[in-house]
Amino acid sequence: MNLDTGKNAIIRLFNVTKQYGGKPALQNVSLDIEPGEFVFISGPSGAGKSTLLKVLYLAETVSDGQILIDGMNLARISPARLPFLRRRFGMVFQDFKLIPTLTVFDNVALALDVAGKKPSFIKKKVMHVLRITGMETKVHELPPTLSGGEQQRVAVARAVAGDPDIILADEPTGSLDQASARRVLEILLAYHKKGGTILVASHHLQQLQTVVTGRSIVLEKGRLVSATRLEPYAT
């Protein structure tokens, strides 16, 4: 199913299929995502939501089909170019994926450090994103000493620190209480308002779609079964 055929799409999937040991996780998924779109990906467990995100940042390679990111064919990306592709994404995971031995500051700084930014710039930028996420008072803390909500805010801070074009969030609120989940979503929304393209894979679609205009994509058994425009509910 090809929803939009926008020529300016930042992400384009053409009949993407991904199989694990013969079992399909994604089947002929075709999709265009415009720059600045907020896209919700929902569906039951095992529907292929996480797989869809993984093939975008090349944690997995597709079994068939093609993916273009800003016109760049992922099938043609050499291993040496992969890090540069990943710097165009900010990633948020349900399990946060923070380095437990690094402080909050260093975890966020990592996204800029790998890109070879200068220490003075890194310091300024990290403090800025930590202020936005409300974590500026925890800069010297280690992740294990923080609550789940706080860790996810640090993860979001890291995701937005490098000003990526696209944010991929895989169940970003899955393990958070309602207040923390709302806080994380607000940060993602703020980034979206600045023009960021955001893809969120989540079970908690209702919670997410109440606050933003975007597109909802539903996956079932690896197939894209529906795509609808969303308008925020009055809150």
Binding site: Y57, P83, L85, R87, K97, T101, L110, V114, P119
Partner: protein, 291 residues
């Protein structure tokens, strides 16, 4: 580079025990290697001393008369490698003998005539081993009026052969110790890498290049090798200070003993090899792990 150095120091701090074990192992290996080098440098100097101070006695025939001494002396002096020629007349030789046999030389007074021959005491300098000495001796033997040439070549050659074999064994041992240091470093890197596998995965997810991931490991390897090398040399130097004066005192009378610590070149070489091994262990391990 400075940031990688800081990261490496942080990594060493967070894996103190493993890194300490590696550095101590490298230090012990380097200690053994340096000990061998010190031993062979010292023994080599002693052997060179013997080699360079090769003395020989040229015994002359009974037909020799002192008239022909200048001619023969100059013929011997002209030979390659001969650095000193001193004539020892038969009377001088007898006087020396009497002197050496002080206390039991009465029977020498009963001799009707001096049985000792005239001789030249010569010193041959070896530039490239015993072959040049042997060639000089052969040439002296072929001269007129020369009865025989006595030169302690046989036993010296055997000692030198033994020394060469000993030195070869030492080098093999050195290589083995260096291999131990190398494998320990490589194993530590593997252990540290596996303990940081999830960290490396996260780095990759945020766009770290292989170089960014590897560099702190390389710097850690270099630090381990460098510190281990310095530690090994330091232990040897302390041991040397404690032992060398005693050795010089007790054995210096037996033969000329030139005991010195390792030369700056040797120390630099050993330290360089140690540092290189630290890095090389990392390099090979990471090459496999980050395929």
């Amino acid at each position: 580079m400075i940031r990688y150095f800081h990261k490496a120091l942080a990594d060493i701090r967070s894996n103190r025990f493993l890194n300490l074990v590696t550095m101590v192992t490298i230090a012990l290996s380097i200690l053994m290697v340096s000990l061998f080098v010190l031993f062979f440098e010292t023994l080599g100097r002693i052997m060179d001393g013997w080699n360079q101070e090769g003395r020989a006695m040229v015994y002359l025939t009974p037909e020799f008369t002192t008239d022909i001494r200048p001619e023969l002396e100059s013929a011997i002096t002209r030979l390659d490698g001969v650095v000193r020629v001193a004539f020892v007349s038969k009377d001088q030789a007898l006087a020396r003998l009497k002197n050496q046999m002080a206390g039991s030389n009465r029977f020498l007074d009963t001799l009707k005539e001096n049985p000792l021959p005239h001789a030249f005491e010569i010193q041959i300098q070896s530039r490239d081993g015993f072959e040049s000495v042997a060639a000089a001796v052969r040439q002296i033997k072929s001269l007129d009026m020369v009865e025989s040439v006595e030169y302690g070549r046989e036993w010296l050659v055997r000692v030198f052969d033994l020394f060469q074999l000993f030195r070869l064994t030492g080098y093999v041992m050195c290589v083995l110790f260096l291999l131990i240091a190398f494998f320990i470093t490589a194993s530590t890197v593997r252990l540290v890498f596996h303990s940081r596998q999830s960290e490396v995965e996260i780095m990759r997810l945020v766009g770290a290049t292989d170089r960014f991931i590897k560099m702190p490991f390389y710097v850690t390897g270099l630090i381990q090798g460098a510190v281990g090398g310095i530690l090994g040399l330091l232990i040897l130097f302390i041991a040397y200070l404690a032992v060398s004066s005693g050795i010089s005192r007790s054995m210096g009378e037996l033969f000329h003993l030139d005991v010195r610590f390792l030369s700056v070149t040797a120390m630099g070489g050993i330290w360089g090899v140690s540092t290189f091994l630290g890095w090389f262990g990392c390099y090979l391990s990471l090459r496999q792990l980050l395929k």
